[in-house]
Assembly symmetry: C2
Homo-oligomer: 206 residues x 2
DNA sequence: TGTACATCAGTGAACGCGCGTTCACTGATGTAC
DNA sequence: TGTACATCAGTGAACGCGCGTTCACTGATGTAC
């Protein structure tokens, strides 16, 4: 609740407010854990402007949420893409780590990401485009490729990469979601569980 | 949107409305997919009464949502408990099936169930009691017991049941959540994926 | 160099809406005498 | 058997609130002549 008034941007820097609006929206989303808390008035309070000033940068409230989610999606993919590793096996673990770390760092955005794919009662699923991005050539595609590399190098005993990649995705999604939902559950220490899920489902060799 | 007015209950049957309120709340939750849609006025419209009539049966709006979630939690556990099977292995599959089927039938309630465990910014996590119920002696405990039986019968190669049970829980939660979130994803047919997850993570013998 | 003007980056007041909740009430129905 | 009364199961009007969005505006700043 930053009640201080924000100094007006200089002449050419009107676009600076756009970024502050998006940051505030993301912050409100993470702090409250639900989209309903991200109101134009709450954003305005956070940024230190009045609510109508937002309309200079976004056509309506929904556009802000759409952008926050699209940015989060891009960030997740970027994070997976830059995951490093010496061997195919290490690259697979690094990609999964990046995925899980993203969900741990930005749990509300991670959750809202998936809520947006679900076709709603009113109108079609939002961000259908981002679904293709996530499941098509990118996040899921990277898992398939990574497991394909493990098969080629002999690190995985799987016959083909698609089915194991889907199994791994389901498992790391479950891991990320459940850890976020049940922080008080006595989770095993370190990475034992996550590594076990990946190793068994990607059919890695001992 | 049932706009017909509901006939007044007979003298002793005032409690009948309570059930109709809970059904309408659950229906609104499933139809809209979010808690915000479950308003007292929407419930009243659905049932065919006026909103203040609800206060005869629940102290406030939150109590209705709490009850819907608690009922869902009890239904999930009951469904798992009545899952049948000839062998330990079949009983494990049947329990997991029951879990996944519940999430598929009542996706919004399943999701909200977990949202409630998450400690929120304002106040502590609601329904901490139900968390113990779900993770303690019941849903998770049933998985542990079931895998323990598989180990005893030689159906599982695991050394102990706790870690595999957690892995299986994570995986079937991921499976249930992801299928609900991405209904348009090209999921493999039949039960191939789910069975594979369970078999590998519970370390079942071939 | 001075000045009129256009533009930019917002403000402040107001609108109509649906919401949770309260309050006083109403009309049917059972019970006591 | 009749009647006064208590109780039950709600209704209807109203409250204050925060919301998304609109509208007319304002004051600083750059630009043309």
């Amino acid at each position: 609740m930053d009640s201080a008034r924000r100094p007006r941007s200089a002449r050419g820097d009107g676009a600076a407010l756009r970024g502050e609006i998006l940051s505030a929206a993301a912050e409100l989303l993470e702090a409250n854990g639900n989209e309903a808390a991200v109101t134009l008035r709450a954003i305005a309070r956070e940024v230190g402007i009045t609510a109508p000033a937002i309309y200079g940068h976004f056509p309506d409230r929904q556009a802000i949420l759409d952008t926050v989610v699209a940015d989060a999606c891009a960030a997740l993919i970027a994070r997976m893409r830059t995951a490093q590793g010496e061997t195919p096996r290490e690259r697979l673990f690094a990609s999964c780590d990046a995925y899980v770390a993203f969900a741990a760092d930005q749990p509300a955005r991670y959750r809202v990401l998936f809520e947006r794919f679900r076709p709603s009662a009113h109108g079609e699923a939002r961000a259908a485009l981002t679904m293709d991005t996530l499941t098509g050539g990118d996040a899921f595609g990277m898992l398939v490729a990574s497991i394909g590399d493990c098969i080629a190098s002999g690190d995985s005993e799987a016959a083909e990469p698609h089915a194991p990649a889907l199994a791994v995705w389901v498992a790391i999604h479950g891991y990320a979601s459940l850890r976020a939902s049940l922080p008080r559950f006595p989770w095993p220490q370190e990475r034992a569980l996550l590594d076990d899920l990946i190793a068994r489902l990607a059919q890695l060799t001992a």
